[in-house]
């Protein structure tokens, strides 16, 4: 289900939900996922941020659309080679490599999708090429790596082995300025879109950092944003925004005009079915319950509604597109991915 404008030029159909909470240190399921990437073979890579109790198992899990759990990799919590503390986002590059940001270690770590650790680059600081809380990451058509340098309020461009190319931006709310920016995406023309998190907007730049446009403003209405975390752009130029503070996803046209919004409509995943098969008494009561309840006014903020309404997005932190028009919405607080298909 989606709320649409009167004549939207895009439609998205709900496909399925993948996931289940993983309370342990490995195995199928997700632990506070923060980002998803999908390769050309349809393999789905899920970046598990993990809470402090499970920090030793910060990892990338791999599964298929059919919810076959294919494996996982990571080297645990810390600052050693291949280790992580606060992972934020990842990007798939050529040669089956995954670039992963760590906002605590102030660096980008590179793994092969096979799970082999390759390298890391980046040092803490504010000079050219130095990082402070790297968040979103994307690869452009040249193979250059775009990194959101969160606490330095700028975007930096690197070669794939971490050599500094360019930087732009400063702290503020004007054009080309940022306030704790998070996600980033590159469109088919190599333009760069940044989720300017605390300015409640998406900013668009040319590949060399020229400001082109700003979309969205603070608010709860259509086209308005609250702390956007993730952004993606499809081949037709539609802009998908993880409107995190509003616990929803919005789709904008290439001109930034509102097209439609998704609130979430999660269903029982295959892994969840397995759980309920072993716990029929819980399933029986669940089937008698209203999982979309009316709530008292003091609990009617998007966050509270989502905390009580299991099918809705709760912590929709990233939006990812695959090569066949599917949209994957990663939900941190629900440990799952809702999948939609563009018509």
């Amino acid at each position: 289900m989606s709320t649409q404008t009167q004549s939207p030029s895009i439609a998205l159909d709900y496909v399925k939900t993948i996931g289940i909470v993983n309370n342990g240190l490995n195995g199928r399921g997700f632990a506070n996922p923060y980002d998803t990437a999908v390769d050309g073979d349809g393999r789905i890579f899920v970046l598990n941020r993990c809470d402090p109790a499970r920090a030793s198992a910060i990892r990338v899990g791999i599964c298929s659309l059919e919810e076959e759990y294919l494996g996982e990799f990571g080297r645990g919590n810390g600052a050693g080679a291949g280790q992580f503390v606060w992972v934020v986002a990842m990007a798939l590059a050529s040669k089956d490599r995954l670039f992963i940001t760590d906002e605590y270690n102030h660096r980008v770590t590179v793994y092969e999708t096979s799970g082999d650790y390759l390298s890391h680059w980046g040092v803490a600081g504010s000079g050219d090429g130095e990082l402070s809380g790297p968040a979103g990451i994307a690869i452009d058509s040249s193979g250059d790596v775009i990194v959101v340098d969160q606490h330095n309020a700028r975007i930096q461009k690197f070669t794939e082995d971490g050599k500094f190319i360019a930087a732009w931006g400063s702290f503020g709310s004007g054009e080309g300025q940022f306030n704790l920016p998070w996600g980033v995406a590159v469109d088919g023309d190599d333009n760069i879109y940044v989720a300017d998190w605390r300015n409640d907007r998406i900013q668009k730049f040319s590949n060399d950092g020229e400001f082109l446009a700003s979309y969205g403003e603070s608010g709860y209405g259509n086209g308005q944003l609250q702390r956007p975390t993730g952004v993606a752009v499809d081949s037709e130029g539609f802009i998908y925004v993880a409107d995190w503070g509003n616990e929803r996803v919005q789709v904008l046209g290439s001109d930034g005009g509102f097209q439609l919004l998704l609130r979430g409509e999660a269903t029982i995943s295959k892994w969840a079915e397995d759980y309920f098969a072993s716990n029929p008494e819980e399933k029986a009561e669940r089937d008698l319950s209203n999982l979309k309840p009316d709530l008292p006014s003091h609990l009617n903020t998007p966050y509270h509604v989502s905390s009580q309404t299991e099918p809705y997005f709760w912590g929709p932190v990233s939006v990812t597109l695959d090569q066949v028009g599917r949209l994957y919405v990663t939900e941190t607080n629900r440990h799952r991915i809702q999948v939609f298909q563009k018509r």
Binding site: G19, I20, V21, N23, N32, Y34, R49, C50, D51, P52, A53, V85, W86, Y104, L180, W182, W197, R198, R227, G245, A266, I268, S269, W271, A272, Y275, F276, N279, E281, E282, E285, R286, L288, S289, N290, L291, P293, L295, P296, H298, L299, Y303, H304, S307, Q308, E310, W314, G315, T332, N333, R334, H335, R336
Partner: protein, 472 residues
């Protein structure tokens, strides 16, 4: 020489807040005592760490699936608020209307209850009891979801009278039964499913689902009831309206407020204040804020007898030390370890030991807890890199004139800036002896972490280890 105004204001801020840095103390002194009482009793924008920042960096505090992250979330609130009374009154009710995670496995709903305490904890007691009776965490905690028109469960009805309002000895067993009947049908949405999930500690498949109140008219016993001598087809609201009229309720509430905010022990002087608070309770129409105003303005509260007459609860100790040191002003790794430390001191937030809450006063202190308390405060206050400690060093330098402090001045000024804290002659003598070992302290041109600064850190560490620092 520390003025009585300064000592009195510091006393007020230890009780209505978590103590105060010298900067905060000076802001309140500018308001005067009466103005400060009003500012504390009428919380405005608390200016605490914003939820969006907390959620961004702490996934565990966004989801609130587990206890540790949930307690840490409240810690941030207490550490960063500029309206400390809002948190103190929430702590008071959290101990009195004690509701614990262990049975519920639902921290979001527990924190919603704490939000309710912030929102209503200084208002009308009748309204507060009504909100409490509709609070889904309380409902499941005391089994009111099992209280049906066809099969009464007395648990909530009993505790409402015994632990939350009148106190034992002021009602009969028949009153308990009739009270429980009136609350039949007061439950939470999807009660059966949520009850199973709570009992199994189920997080499956997609994490916790928070709770909300639901009234089921078909499950309510609408028959005639006789409660405390009054008869009617009472529902829960009617029962609460009768409870709040009782003198025993006024005494219960006044006494518990007094013991939390004024003194661990009720002396003859304290008893007089409690009577004044009871009078205010009735004259104001059950307003909690007005009762506290009466208490804060009483001669007893302002007197020396009330100073340092309470043992700091672990939350007061830990939050007070962190606020004084100026730490954790932004989301940071390790905050959940701080809330765990409080647990080792005997007060785990969101996990009171039973429905009776914590046993306070001297019961906070045993050898293990004392060691934890001293170690924690000493570590926080001796780190010269902490912004609050740096501020203390700067004030010491400024107050010395030529940058040089004789040993007795160093001890006295540290006691002043951490409170003022009143200590015994014996304690002061130990502090001065310690300072004397290295002679006068020259802070001229001090640099971060140099020997002079470390001497200040060591003195602050020693003050934090005194018996007097453990008292509020």
């Amino acid at each position: 020489m520390i003025s009585n105004d300064t000592s009195l204001m510091a006393h007020l801020l230890r009780r209505a807040g978590f103590g105060a840095s010298r900067d905060e103390l000076e802001e309140y002194l500018e308001m005067g005592y009466d103005g400060a009482v009003e500012a504390l009793l009428n919380p405005s924008d608390p200016g605490n760490m914003p939820d969006d920042l907390i959620r961004r960096y702490h996934v565990e505090q966004s989801e609130l699936r587990d206890l540790a992250g949930s307690a840490a979330y409240w810690m941030y609130r207490m550490i960063s608020t500029t309206s400390p009374m809002e948190e103190k009154i929430a702590l008071f009710w959290h101990s009195l209307f004690a509701t614990g995670y262990a049975k519920l496995n639902q921290a979001r709903s527990l924190l919603n209850q704490v939000d309710m305490f912030r929102r209503s904890g200084l208002e009308n007691f009748e309204d507060l009891l009504l909100e409490l009776s509709k609070d889904p965490a309380m409902i499941l905690w005391l089994d009111n979801n099992e209280n049906h028109g066809s099969a009464v469960n007395e648990n909530y009805g009993r505790e409402l009278l015994e632990l939350f309002s009148m106190g034992i000895g002021n009602y009969t067993e028949d009153d308990v039964k009739e009270c429980a009947r009136a609350f039949t049908g007061w439950t939470l949405g999807n009660a059966e499913y949520m009850s199973i999930r709570a009992a199994k500690d189920s997080i499956w498949p997609y994490g916790r689902i928070a709770w909300h109140f639901e009234y089921r008219n078909e499950d309510h016993d609408d028959g005639e009831k006789t409660f405390l001598g009054e008869t009617g087809r009472f529902n829960g609201e009617d029962i609460i309206a009768i409870i709040v009229k009782q003198e025993s309720t006024a005494r219960f509430l006044a006494t518990r407020l007094f013991e939390f905010f004024a003194a661990d022990e009720v002396t003859e002087g304290g008893e007089k204040v409690i009577h004044e608070m009871m009078a205010t309770y009735f004259s104001s129409g059950y307003q909690i804020r007005d009762m506290l105003r009466t208490m804060f303005h009483s001669g007893y509260f302002k007197s020396e007898a009330a100073r340092f007459a309470r043992v700091k609860a672990p939350a007061e100790m830990v939050v007070g030390a962190i606020r004084m040191a100026g730490n954790y002003q932004n989301p940071a790794l390790g905050i959940e370890k701080v809330s765990n430390t409080m647990l080792y001191m005997g007060q785990g937030l969101l996990q009171p030991p039973s429905v009776e809450g914590w046993h306070e006063g001297l019961e906070w202190i045993n050898s293990g807890a004392l060691l934890e308390r001293v170690n924690f405060a000493a570590k926080e206050l001796s780190d010269v890199k902490s912004p609050g400690v740096r501020s203390i060093i700067d004030r010491l330098e400024a107050s010395s004139g030529d940058g040089v402090l004789v040993p007795s001045d160093l001890a006295d000024r540290c006691l002043d800036l951490l409170g003022p804290i009143q200590v015994s002659d014996e304690t002061r003598s130990v502090l001065v002896d310690y300072a004397s070992r290295q002679g006068d302290l020259d802070l001229t041109g001090h640099q971060l972490g140099d020997e002079a600064e470390q001497r200040v850190g060591n003195m602050l560490r020693l003050v934090a280890a005194t018996k007097e620092y453990q008292l509020a």
